[in-house]
C-alpha cells in the first residue's frame, strides 16, 4: 500500500465579515479549510485576529500583573484603548461593564456617548460588548447602535431574550451582531436562524461562550470545533459564520491567573491558542503579553504577511 497524503477538501465556506469602515477595516472569516490546515485544498485568507479588552470603568479588582502594562491609562477607557493600540492589536473591545445593574447601573446614553467618543479617537475597529444583562443590554446596545450609526461596529451580546430589539437596531444602523448562546450547538443555530430572518448572515458572528482553562475549556473547545466543522464540512448555512472567542476576562477571573504572572499569561495563552486551533476567528484577550506570545508561537511561516 502506497502512502498518499490524506488531503481533504470541503464544500462550505465561512462568510467573510467586515468590521469598521474607511481606513479602519477588519476582515474575519472567509476560510474553507479548518484552522491552519494549509495542507488541505482551500484557503484561509484572513488569519484569526486579536483584540484587547478595555472596560468602561476602572477595574474593581486590581490584579497588579494584569494592569501593569497599561499604567495609569486604566482610569480612562479611551486612554486605555489607545495604550492597547500600541501593542499591535487588530481591534479594540470595549465592555460596557458599568451599565450592569449589579455594577454601577450607569445609564445607556452615557455608555453610548463613550462608545461614540472612542470610535472617533481610536485608529482600530471597535467591538462593543454590553454587560450581558439581557434587559439592560436591550436599552444600552440599541442606543449605542443608533448614536454610532454607519460605523459598522461589532456589537453584542445579542441573546435569545433580546435579539429582536438589539438585532433590529444593529440592522438599521449598519453594524454587525455578535450572536451569543450558552455553550450549546442547537441553541446557537436556533438564535442564528431567528436573527437571519431579518439580518443578512454576513452581519452575524457567533459567540458560543468561551470558558477558561480548567473551568470548562473542553466544552468551548469541542463546541467551536464542531461549529466550524459543521459549517465547513457539511456546509450548514447557520454555522458558516466567523466565531469570536471572548476569553480574556474568563481567564483572569481564575485564582490561577491572579496568583502568579507567568501562570496567568499561560492560563490566558493556552485558552486562546486552544480556541484558535478549534476555530475561533477573532480572539479577545486582556493581557498584551499574551497576544505577543501567541503571535510569536504560531508564526506566519510566510503564509500571511506579518
Amino acid at each position: 500500500m502506497e502512502y498518499k497524503a490524506p488531503v481533504e477538501a470541503y464544500k462550505g465556506v465561512v462568510r467573510e465579515v467586515t468590521i469598521g469602515k474607511g481606513d479602519k477595516v477588519l476582515k474575519i472569516g472567509g476560510e474553507n479549510i479548518l484552522p491552519l490546515h494549509f495542507f488541505d485544498e482551500g484557503s484561509m485568507p484572513n488569519p484569526p485576529k486579536f483584540a484587547l479588552e478595555v472596560l468602561d470603568m476602572e477595574p474593581t479588582e486590581k490584579i497588579p500583573h494584569l494592569l501593569e502594562p497599561f499604567g495609569n491609562a486604566i482610569s480612562d477607557p479611551i486612554q486605555w484603548a489607545k495604550k492597547c493600540e500600541t501593542f499591535g492589536v487588530d481591534a479594540i473591545c470595549l465592555t460596557l461593564l458599568s451599565t450592569d445593574p449589579a455594577e454601577k447601573d450607569s445609564p445607556a446614553d452615557q455608555a453610548a456617548q463613550l462608545v461614540k467618543r472612542m470610535v472617533s479617537e481610536i485608529k482600530k475597529p471597535l467591538i462593543v460588548y454590553g454587560s450581558g444583562d439581557e434587559k439592560k443590554d436591550a436599552e444600552v446596545l440599541p442606543m449605542v447602535a443608533q448614536i454610532c450609526a454607519g460605523e459598522n461596529l461589532l456589537i453584542g451580546p445579542v441573546q435569545k431574550e433580546n435579539f429582536e430589539v438589539v438585532g433590529k437596531a444593529i440592522l438599521e444602523n449598519g453594524h454587525v451582531a455578535i450572536a451569543q448562546s450558552p455553550l450549546d450547538i442547537n441553541l446557537l443555530k436556533e438564535l442564528n436562524v431567528k436573527l437571519c430572518k431579518f439580518l443578512p448572515p454576513e452581519r452575524v458572528v457567533i459567540d458560543p461562550l468561551s470558558s477558561a482553562l480548567g473551568y470548562g475549556i473542553e466544552y468551548s473547545f469541542s463546541l467551536i470545533e464542531r461549529v466550524k466543522q459543521i459549517g465547513i464540512i457539511t456546509k450548514d448555512s447557520m454555522t458558516m459564520m466567523p466565531i469570536v472567542a471572548n476569553l480574556g476576562d474568563e481567564c483572569w477571573k481564575t485564582k490561577q491567573a491572579k496568583e502568579n504572572e507567568t501562570q496567568g499569561l499561560l492560563w490566558e495563552g493556552i485558552t486562546a491558542l486552544s480556541l484558535y486551533l478549534a476555530g475561533a476567528n477573532l480572539l479577545i484577550l486582556r493581557h498584551p503579553e499574551t497576544l505577543k506570545l501567541i503571535k510569536e508561537t504560531i508564526g506566519g511561516n510566510g503564509r500571511w504577511p506579518s
Binding site: 490524506p6 481533504e8 491552519l36 473551568y215 470545533e225 501562570q263 499561560l266 493556552i270 491558542l273 486551533l277
Partner: protein, 452 residues
C-alpha cells in the same frame, strides 16, 4: 479504518454450521470480531496465513505503546478519533523534561526531582509530569551512563536520546527492564540498530525527515518484528507540526495506513522557542495529537497550565466529570461552621469550593450526586430536588458534625427551600448567593451569625 464484519466473513472458512466458535454462523462471528467482542482463537479452522492477516486487520489503527513499568508507566496510542467531539481521546500524552549530560549535575538532579515531586491536586486528582528524557551530548560515555543510572533509580519513565548507538544501547542495558524509549532510530542507523534492538526489545522513537521519511523506517522495523514505535516527523515549526500530526492521524484512522499507525512524539525543546513560547508550543501538541511531549524545563507555574489542559482535552465528552457524593471539609471546620450544598459536577464543585476556600472560613460542603450536572440543570433533571437533597443530607452524617441545623442552598434553586425543609424536619434552609462569585460577600457574615 476498521474492517467491517462483511469483509471479515469472506476470509472465514464458511463450514456451516459448525458453530465451534460458539456463534450460530460465520457471519455472526465476523460481526463480533469486527467490534472486538470475540477472539480469533475461537475458530479452529483458520489457516495460519489467514489468521495472521486477520490479526493484522483487526489490530487497533494506532498501536498501543508502553514506556516505563509499574505505577510510572505511560501508555499511549489506541486512539480512535481525529476530533475529540467524535467520541473521546483516550490516552493522554506523557509529559517530560529534557536532561542533558552536559548540564551541571546539580541542575540535572533538580530536574529529576521536579518530575518526581511537582504534583498538583486538582478536582480530586493528582496532576503530574511523568517522563525523563536523557540526552547524550557531552561526548563522555561514562558521564552519560552515570546520569542514566541516577535517573533510573527514580523509577520514572525514561527516554534515552543518543545519536551514538554504542552509547544508546549501553544505556539501554542499564535499564532495559524499565522499558525505556530509545531515540532516535533513523534511516542512517536503522540497519545497524535492528539486531541490537532485538536483543532486549523496548519501545523506540523513530525519526524521519517528514512523513515520507518515516514510512520506510516503520515498515522495515515491523518486518524485523519490532513495532512498539513512536513517530517523530521532525516538524520545524507549529504550522508544519499541525500538518504532520494531522496527516499521521488521518492516515492511520481514515486510510488504515499501517506504516503510520503509531503514536507520535514531539520535542518542543528542540523547536527553537524559548520560555513561555515553548510551553505554548507544547500546548499545541496537546491539542494536536502528540502522545509524548518533551520540554527543556518547567516549574510549578509553567507545568500546571499544561497538565490542566491535558486533563481537560482528554476528558471524555460523553460523561461529565463528577466528584463523589459526600460532605467535604474545607479548612478545619468545627461544630459552628457553615454547611453548604452543591451538585457533583466537577466544575461546580471546584468553583464553589475555591470560592469558599478564598473566604478562609472553615466550612462543610455537601455534594449531592446529580450525575455530573450543574445545580440548575440537575434540578431540572430531577436530581437536585428537595426530597433527594434531604435524603442525601441525612445519609451523609453531617448532622452529627454541627450543633446548628442550618444548610445553605444555591440561590438558583431557591425554589426547593420549602420541599427541603419538609424533607429535613428541624432544619432551617438558607438561600445562598446565585453565583459562586457571591460567596465571598455572603459567607463571612453568615458564619458570624452562626456563632452568636
Amino acid at each position: 479504518m476498521p474492517i467491517s464484519g462483511s469483509e471479515i466473513v469472506k476470509m472465514l472458512p464458511g463450514r456451516k454450521p459448525c458453530k465451534d466458535c460458539g456463534f450460530p454462523t460465520c457471519f455472526a462471528f465476523a460481526m463480533k470480531l469486527a467490534t472486538g467482542g470475540a477472539s480469533l482463537d475461537k475458530c479452529p479452522y483458520l489457516s495460519p496465513e489467514v489468521k495472521a492477516k486477520l490479526e493484522d486487520l483487526l489490530a487497533p489503527a494506532i498501536k498501543l505503546v508502553t514506556i516505563g513499568t509499574g505505577d510510572n508507566k505511560v501508555q499511549v496510542g489506541n486512539e480512535e478519533v481525529i476530533y475529540r467531539h467524535e467520541k473521546t481521546y483516550i490516552h493522554p500524552p506523557g509529559i517530560g523534561i529534557l536532561v542533558s549530560d552536559k548540564e551541571e549535575e546539580r541542575k540535572a538532579d533538580e530536574k529529576i526531582k521536579k518530575v518526581k515531586e511537582l504534583q498538583f491536586p486538582w478536582v480530586g486528582l493528582i496532576l503530574k509530569a511523568e517522563l525523563l528524557a536523557l540526552q547524550f551530548e557531552s561526548g563522555n560515555k561514562d558521564r552519560y551512563l552515570s546520569l542514566v543510572r541516577k535517573a533510573a533509580q527514580s523509577g520514572l519513565g525514561l527516554i534515552l536520546i543518543s545519536r551514538d548507538l554504542d552509547v544508546l544501547f549501553a544505556a539501554r542495558d542499564l535499564c532495559a527492564d524499565q522499558r525505556p524509549l530509545l531515540y532516535p532510530i533513523t534511516k542512517e542507523n536503522l540497519d545497524q540498530a535492528i539486531p541490537r534492538i532485538k536483543e532486549k526489545p523496548t519501545p523506540l522513537g523513530v525519526y524521519g525527515e517528514g512523513i515520507e521519511g518515516l514510512i520506510p523506517l516503520t515498515k522495515k522495523l515491523k518486518e524485523a518484528g519490532v513495532d512498539e514505535l513512536l513517530l517523530d516527523p521532525g516538524s520545524k515549526n507549529i504550522l508544519d507540526a499541525i500538518r504532520d500530526q494531522t496527516f499521521i492521524r488521518r492516515a492511520a484512522l481514515k486510510q488504515g495506513f499501517r506504516p503510520l499507525g503509531y503514536p507520535t512524539i514531539a520535542f518542543p525543546c528542540f523547536m527553537g522557542k524559548d520560555g513561555l513560547k515553548e510551553i505554548l508550543t507544547a500546548s499545541v501538541f496537546i491539542n494536536k495529537f502528540a502522545s509524548v511531549i518533551i520540554l527543556s524545563d518547567f516549574d510549578q507555574y509553567t507545568l500546571l497550565p499544561l497538565l490542566v489542559q491535558r486533563l481537560n482535552i482528554y476528558t471524555d465528552p460523553r460523561f461529565p466529570m463528577a466528584v463523589e457524593e459526600k460532605y467535604y471539609e474545607i479548612g478545619t471546620p468545627d461544630e459552628n461552621s457553615p454547611v453548604l450544598i452543591t451538585s457533583n459536577w466537577a466544575l461546580t464543585y471546584f468553583i464553589v469550593s475555591s470560592a469558599i476556600e478564598a473566604t478562609k472560613i472553615p466550612s462543610y460542603l455537601c455534594v449531592k450526586d446529580t450525575e455530573g450536572l450543574g445545580v440548575l440543570t440537575g434540578w431540572a433533571a430531577g436530581k437536585f430536588t428537595g426530597d433527594s437533597v434531604g435524603a442525601m443530607v441525612k445519609k451523609s452524617g453531617i448532622e452529627s458534625k454541627v450543633k446548628h441545623k442550618k444548610i445553605v442552598i444555591p440561590g438558583r434553586v431557591a425554589r426547593i427551600k420549602g420541599e427541603l425543609e419538609d424533607a429535613l424536619p428541624g432544619w432551617e434552609v438558607v438561600v445562598g448567593p446565585r453565583e459562586a462569585a457571591g460567596i465571598g460577600a455572603f459567607l463571612p457574615e453568615y458564619a458570624k451569625s452562626l456563632r452568636k
